[in-house]
């Protein structure tokens, strides 16, 4: 929960096709800014904005080497996002377990409340083996 702000930024990083495109390219390895951002058909300021969001999310890092800026992928924030998804899934699985348990209890208490003529066998102790 403490990392919510970071996660939000990871989700923002993933929420635009150009940003995803950049990440996809960088998944192949380190690249110069030009290589990673060329041919998207958008302006330089737009590219800068996308790079800034990706950097803020911690999805990429910029390595300055003389006049060249190279970009690298950092997987951690996206793994966090994945962990969040997995956690959310576990939460739902637990809800399904809870519903199952509750329905079983409801069924059992209904059986107990049933009148005698419904048969005594329902109430025989199952433990007697």
């Amino acid at each position: 929960m403490a990392n919510n702000a970071l996660l939000d930024r990871a989700f923002v990083a993933c929420s635009h096709p150009i940003r995803r495109g950049i990440l996809e390219r960088l998944a192949g390895g380190e690249m110069t800014v030009g290589e990673a951002t060329g041919d998207f058909g958008v302006s330089k300021p737009a590219i800068s904005k996308h790079l800034k969001l990706l950097e803020e999310a911690g999805a990429i890092t910029r390595v300055v080497d003389g006049r060249k800026h190279r970009l690298q992928l950092r997987e951690q924030p996206l793994d966090d996002a994945y962990a969040w998804m997995t956690g959310q899934r576990e939460l739902w699985e637990r809800k399904l377990d809870t519903v199952e348990e509750y329905l079983r209890e409801q069924r059992e208490s209904k059986h107990l409340q049933q009148p005698q003529e419904q048969g005594h066998e329902n109430r025989q102790p199952k433990e007697s083996r």
């Binding site: 929960m1 403490a2 919510n4 702000a5 939000d8 990871a10 989700f11 923002v12 990083a13 993933c14 929420s15 635009h16 096709p17 940003r19 995803r20 990440l23 996809e24 998944a27 997987e75 996206l78 793994d79 996002a81 994945y82 998804m85 997995t86 959310q88 899934r89 739902w92 699985e93 637990r94 809800k95 399904l96 809870t98 519903v99 199952e100 348990e101 509750y102 329905l103 409801q106 069924r107």
Partner: protein, 165 residues
């Protein structure tokens, strides 16, 4: 390692973030009522056995809100809230899902759709299909069709499989 791949595939389904199915030996009405019962919600939300008794407020009507809250033994709060936008007992539920942040305010909105399908004519079996669609924030709601789950999928094929958790 192969487990991680399986999980990733199970979790990501196109534009949908998460999809889970389970069948119950009960009628759609019974399952629907259990799903929305404050009793069930409280039990579900008891994340820490040593935490406080969870609170569940449920206003089950279109536009009504729910809020589930509990405090762990460390004093950390786990609170989620949302609004019911569709209530069609015993067939379908649609509601939003938002965590309350530690720093105050709310996290990103996501949507939860739950379908209750009768598997048998006599109503003795019901399948719940839950789809939780994650949205990063309100601004990118309109871009949701190309949302972050697709992005995560890209990394699912590479980053996650190479990691042993």
């Amino acid at each position: 390692m192969s487990n991680a791949t399986d999980t990733a595939e199970a979790v990501m389904t196109g534009e949908t973030s998460l999809r889970i199915e389970r069948s119950f030996e009960a009628s759609p009405e019974e399952v629907f009522d259990a799903w929305t019962s404050p009793e069930v919600l409280k039990r579900w939300w008891a994340v820490h056995p040593d935490g406080s008794t969870p609170a569940a407020e449920v206003d089950l009507r279109p536009g009504g809100r729910y809020r589930l809250s509990m405090e762990g033994p460390d004093g950390e709060r786990h609170t989620v809230q949302g609004e019911y936008s569709e209530i069609d007992r015993p067939h379908r539920l649609l509601y939003s899902w938002q965590w309350e942040l530690d720093a105050g305010g709310l996290g990103p909105i996501s949507m939860v759709a739950v379908e209750f399908r009768a598997d048998r004519a006599d109503g003795s079996r019901t399948t719940v299909v839950l789809e939780h669609t994650g949205l990063p924030d309100a601004d990118s709601r309109d871009r949701h069709a190309q949302g972050w789950s697709a992005c995560l999928e890209i990394f699912g094929t590479r980053g996650f499989t190479s990691q042993t958790v």
